[in-house]
């Protein structure tokens, strides 16, 4: 499904928080290429820089140095206002804690990106209901988030991320708050509805159970991509990008290569 068109191109991207002795190197030279039509997972232990990388890609944080191109635009060259408009038009978000607005019904929550883009309320909510229907949630369109299960809330969040037809979907631990079966269902829905030839999906996750859905997996540790599994659906090709000791230590700590281990046994 992947095309040759690049959705995200990152070259030697760094991100440093703080100054002087208190500074933290969250990203240390990230080189990554994500193509349209691909589902890329960023995996690694806590503090490895996955979420920071996601924030930098989406323009929520500025990179300290390096070159970053997202959907043909360089976030560093966009003004704050342009960046917001860019995000609104091109990006869809799925958060770990769903971040639905408790006061709004499921359909209204789905409609939020459309409302932010200036679509009229009735039209936006109607579109929200349509999207919920595609995710099998039409019967819950009028329910408040507090009346929905975790899986249902994540499906509403998924619908919200998709409703405005963005080119890039970013998901932060979309299954971590769900049980295994629900997580699997959400991922199946995500891979069916979100992955398209003209769209890229990036997922930050710890959840090894969903690695099979990925086209590409970037393993991160200490602000670096230590290994990259490309073309996984066409036969895995692992590029080790960091010293072997770092990869082995990461693998030992987090058991991050279950798929390969399975192949090996």
């Amino acid at each position: 499904m992947a095309t040759d068109e690049i959705a995200v191109l990152s070259r030697d991207v760094t991100k440093i928080f703080g100054r002087g002795e208190t500074q933290v190197h969250a990203l240390r030279g990230i080189d990554l290429k994500i193509r349209l039509g691909e589902l890329t997972m960023l995996v690694g232990p806590s503090g490895s820089g996955k979420t920071t990388l996601l924030c930098v890609i989406t323009g929520l944080l500025d990179a300290t140095s390096g070159e970053l191109v997202v959907l043909g635009r360089r976030p560093a060259e966009l003004s704050q206002e342009e960046l917001i408009l860019f995000r609104r038009k091109n990006l869809g978000f799925v958060f770990q804690q769903y971040n639905l607005i408790p006061a709004l019904t499921a359909a209204e929550n789905v409609a939020v990106p459309l409302l932010a883009g200036g679509v009229k309320r009735q039209q936006a909510v109607a579109r929200g209901k349509e999207f919920l229907a595609t995710l099998g949630m039409s019967h819950r369109a009028h329910a408040l988030p507090s009346e929905l299960s975790g899986g249902e809330q994540q499906r509403v969040a998924l619908a919200r991320a998709l409703v405005h037809e963005p080119k890039l979907i970013v998901c932060d631990e979309p299954t971590s708050a769900l049980d295994a079966a629900t997580g699997q269902t959400v991922m199946e829905l995500l891979s069916v509805t979100a992955v398209r030839p003209d769209r890229a999906v990036i997922i930050v996750t710890h959840d090894a159970r969903i690695f099979d859905f990925a086209d590409q997996i970037a393993h991160m540790d200490d602000g670096r991509i230590v290994s990259l599994e490309e073309d996984r659906k066409n036969g895995t090709r692992t590029n080790v990008l960091a010293p072997a000791s770092a990869v082995l230590s990461l693998a030992a700590r987090r058991n991050v290569f279950p798929h390969e281990r399975r192949v090996g046994t």
Binding site: T51, R88, F93, F95, Q96, A103, E108, P113, L115
Partner: protein, 379 residues
């Protein structure tokens, strides 16, 4: 996005209503205390306001306000009449005496002696009878509160008698006189009659009421009278302010009301301000998600301002409704009669509420504007 803002606002009913009621209560308390303060402080000038015919009050140069008077000499009236620009000048007696009712109950009363010939100074708001009935022997007009004190449970009527200085006082009319500062009954009678009701004093000419000729301003006439006679001449408005200032400077009333108003202001600012700020803080994740999704800062600011305006205007309207109901209820209650909710007070409180919600929303807006949308990625 306006409906999103409103739904976020009303979602937590308890917090929403506590915000509304905090503002409503503060508005009510402010309106109530300020209006009562103004009403009470306006009372010392009641007898000045009730004299609608005269523009200028002339008095002893040392007179500070209308309740403490050192009488003029009778010939001062003629000196004032001779000042160029005076259309007419008439005597007015204002003093106190003791009146006794038929059942023996007595009370200090404010006695107003108006000019025999012109009846200038007589009450204009009559409930029963006419001011011209003052021409009868021993006649006096009593105010409604006085009548109800001396003749409780009786309908308003004329023909009753009181006793003052061992003399018969025939009630020929009942007026709707403005309530005086001390809630004494107010009696109007003719100037010549007043002398008999209070007993013989050397001088009884409390004031001279005058009116300028056409083309002569009140201020100009006051100046001419002061220059020509050495007496003090004040316009009715100035003389009313003199009374207001005297009570402001010489009583504890302003301090007392001031403390209550300050407390209402502080409570009315802190409680809704803090609640609104907390409300925003608890919605930070939602605002962060909206910012991440691509809602502009300008739009988020307008959402917060809309929430603040809705809370402020609803609370204000409720508070003013409560205040209006209070004053409507107590308007005809004798001790609080005449105390109203002035529109200026309502307007001032609207400004205060606007300031309160503006301040609260500014704090919230500041917090939301500096919010990194990346906060939504923290679990």
């Amino acid at each position: 996005m306006n409906f999103v803002a409103l739904k976020m606002l009303v979602a937590d009913r308890a917090k929403y209503f506590s915000l509304i009621f905090a503002i409503a209560f503060a508005s009510f308390l402010l309106a109530n205390q300020i209006s009562i303060f103004i009403g009470i402080m306006a009372r010392p000038a009641s007898q000045i306001r009730d004299v609608v015919d005269a523009d200028v009050w002339v008095m002893d140069p040392q007179t500070l306000y209308s309740d403490e008077v050192y009488a003029l000499r009778d010939y001062d009236l003629y000196r004032i009449r001779s000042v160029p620009g005076v259309e007419w000048a008439v005597p007015l007696y204002k003093g106190t005496g003791r009146a006794k009712g038929p059942d023996g109950r007595f009370r200090t009363v404010i006695l107003m002696g108006v000019d025999d010939a012109s009846l200038v100074g007589a009450p204009r708001k009559m409930l029963v009878g006419s001011i011209y009935d003052l021409n009868q022997p021993d006649a006096a007009i009593i105010d409604k509160a006085g009548f109800q004190y001396f003749f409780p449970d009786q309908p308003l009527h004329v023909g009753e008698t009181l006793q003052m200085n061992e003399k018969r006082v025939l009630i020929v009319g009942i007026s709707d006189a403005s309530a005086p500062f001390q809630s004494f009954p107010v009696l109007h009678t003719r100037y010549s009659q007043a002398l008999g009701f209070v007993g013989r004093e050397r001088n009884l000419l409390s004031f001279v009421l005058a009116k300028p000729l056409a083309g002569v301003s009140i201020q100009e006439l006051c100046q001419r009278i002061e220059t020509a006679t050495g007496l003090r001449a004040r316009s009715a408005a100035e003389f009313s302010w003199d009374a207001f200032r005297f009570y402001m400077q010489n009583t504890g009333i302003p301090v007392n009301f001031g403390i209550t108003v300050m407390i209402a202001l502080i409570v009315g600012t802190v409680v809704p301000g803090q609640t609104f700020y907390i409300f925003t803080m608890e919605s930070l994740k939602e605002f962060g998600a909206l910012k991440a999704i691509g809602v502009t800062n300008r739009r988020i600011v307008s959402m917060i301002l809309l929430q603040a305006m809705v809370v402020g205007s609803t609370g204000y309207a409720l508070g003013m409704g409560m205040a209006a109901a209070f004053f409507a209820t107590f308007l005809n209650y004798l001790p609080t009669r005449g105390i109203i909710l002035p529109w200026q007070v309502m307007a001032s409180i609207a400004v205060v509420v606007l300031f309160v919600v503006g301040l609260a929303s500014l704090m919230s807006i500041r917090r939301v504007l500096v919010l990194e949308p990346a906060v939504v990625f923290r679990s």
